[in-house]
Amino acid sequence: MKHIPTLTGIALLAAGPALAETTLTVYHAWPHHAEWQTQIAEEFMVQNPDVQIEFQAPSPDYDEGLVSVIRQNMAGDPPDIFMVGSHLLGDLVAREMVEPLDDLIGDTDMNAQGYTDEVLAFTQIDGVQYGLPWTSSTPVMFYNAELVEQAGGDPDNMPTTWDDTIALAADIDALGEDIMGMYYTPGDDDWMTQNLLASAGLAPISEDGSIAFNTETGEQAIALFERFHDEGGQTAISNNDGRQQMYAGKLGLYYNSTAAVRSFDREIGDRFEWGTAQMPRMVDEGGVAAGGMAAVILTDDPEKRQAAWDYLLYGTGAEAQAFVVQNTGYMPVNSGAIDELSAFYEDHPQFKTSAEQTDRAYPWFGWPGQNGARISQIVLDEMASIANDQQSAKDAAAALSEKISAQLPD
């Protein structure tokens, strides 16, 4: 008879999922995010036993995630919730795969829930709210404090302009044959180039419709990338190689999304002192480009939409966002999380930098029309040609203006 309690336990366990009346499938990018994504879902299910969250295998990046979701949609069975790079939201809208959230938001005062207008704007298309930002980031300057000191810099007082930064990088580069002054990653798309423009106070397309590369300031912003290589000691290697160089303690300054902070923490450990500082500016009003992923609801079923909305609110709520920040390096999308994070930020100042520069953040710019991904590739190619001395920044800026305008809708 002693087996009975065990059997009852098994029966209860088996009954657990049966309680769930609604099942939601969630699809997100980046396999290394699976751990914290799953933990958010598990916590949500504890609080909402009638909802079951199931994950599809994560896509390796945003582009492939989008392709997969479009395919699943054509087959008539898309996931209920999809986390997409916010610059790709327009592709979903153009394919009518995602509905505005108006019915779910209703009269809710989102500002009062901790969502600022700036944050909500990340996931709007033409002012319509199609999703909620699930994570948010800006790029930061990672530095090797020991190399900065050796080169005569002050790690607690890092340069704030590109001119001073490039000068510091040159000094670091001169420290040794195997030491590289700086590495500004070109990235996988045009986001890091948008950041160069932002540091010059420019959006890729200004409000009067002109392309930033076609302006004198825009050209100077592109020329920064040339100066990184000519003056700052950057070599045209891949981002992976640059990171390994940083982890090995042979790179002075590195620029990429704050989402990498946690990896730096793990990879560098106590081997040398490192930190993050705000992105340098080219002009006084220079900003940064924000990025991150949007969570959208793809299901049409009203009951599922409601459950999915609850999940979105939970995942972007103060508690879950504080958890995401500590596990990645992203910034919280919910201002309520800032309070929860104050002790953590105190101990981990590297995580805080990004949040401190959001007041000068531009949204992740999505190119109008259907050719956004192609324009991203054009930008990457032209930037690579600058890095490899195949053409001057001036010629690249001219080529960019010409090629991009050919891809934009009339």
Partner: protein, 307 residues
């Protein structure tokens, strides 16, 4: 090709076939025909039709645009660059991996005790998952502290940016391509050599061609003809279809220096969503592979009659 020379070749005259034999033949051939049509002809025709439209991946409508995609393809600098890269890659990888494969096969077969070991060593890259191996190559080729650059520096040479220097990147991929293909070619040549009847070598030695070069030119090389033809075709097709190393190591960069045909096709279809143009590239690709295969079959029929 291994039929004994004295076996009479029986070719059934079609007039002799009874009607019931015909219908049995039809039934027996049906599964193959069915699969061929559903898996090959229908999808290929679909691609052919799509190449005449402006279809964007996932969008609901499309329009007939005639040969616009083909015109766009032939005037697109990116496609032409990718085609040039592909031809340069094939022109490098195919001859080197074929000649190296032949050389290795001869050396390994001449070896006594360690023959099995050498076969395994050179065949290993073929069995390895290339995506995982590409990552290993990335580590080996790291511009600062990869093993290859450490060795170069140790020998007094300059370090190279193997995968990010536009002048070198394509050749780095070609070297990896040779590494990947040479083992397969070696194995095929070894198989071909094992088919050569031993008495031919005895006859050759009686005629004075006992060893070395004369033995190779008189017996081995002519009898390897059919195998060589097969190796050439398969290597050309495989080199032409190179995709993994580009996708994992360079993404076609820097600035298109390693863009190759299949990668361009993939980007057009699944990153830029331009299915029409991607379909046009597919058709061009299919044409190339089909031409090679037909050429092979025709030459094969003519030359495969040595033994």
């Amino acid at each position: 090709m291994s039929a004994p020379p004295d076996a009479p070749t029986v070719l059934a005259d079609s007039r002799d076939v009874q009607p019931e034999q015909r219908s049995t033949g039809g039934v027996l051939a049906f599964p193959a025909i069915f699969l061929l049509v559903t898996l090959l002809f229908v999808p290929s025709s679909g691609v052919l039709i799509m190449s005449l439209t402006d279809y964007q991946f996932g969008m609901s409508g499309f329009a007939y645009v005639g040969l616009d995609n083909y015109r766009a393809m032939l005037s697109d600098a990116r496609f032409l660059n990718s085609l040039t890269n592909t031809l340069r890659y094939v022109g490098t990888v195919a001859p080197i991996s074929i000649l190296l494969g032949l050389g290795l096969a001869i050396l390994i077969e001449a070896q006594g005790a360690l023959r099995g070991l050498y076969r395994a060593v050179f065949f290993l890259p073929v069995t390895a998952t290339l995506v995982a191996m590409a990552t290993a190559w990335e580590v080996l080729l790291h511009p600062s502290f990869g093993l290859v650059n450490t060795a170069l520096a140790g020998l007094g040479f300059d370090k190279q940016r193997f995968l990010t220097d536009p002048d070198i990147a394509l050749w780095s991929l070609a070297a990896i391509g040779v590494w990947k293909m040479v083992g397969y070619n070696t194995l095929l040549f070894i198989a071909g050599m094992s088919q050569i009847p031993h008495d031919l070598y005895e006859a050759a030695s009686i005629d004075g061609a006992e060893r070395g070069w004369r033995r190779f030119t008189l017996v081995t090389w002519p009898l390897l003809g059919p195998v060589t033809l097969f190796v050439i075709t398969i290597t050309l097709i495989r080199a032409f279809s190179e995709f993994e190393t580009v996708a994992v190591l360079t993404n076609g960069g820097p600035n298109g220096a390693t863009d190759m045909m299949l990668y361009t096709l993939y980007e057009e279809a699944f990153r830029f969503f331009n299915i029409g143009l991607a379909a046009a590239i597919s058709v061009a690709f299919l044409g190339f592979v089909a031409a090679l295969s037909i050429l092979k079959v025709r030459l094969f029929d003519r030359t495969a009659r040595y033994v």
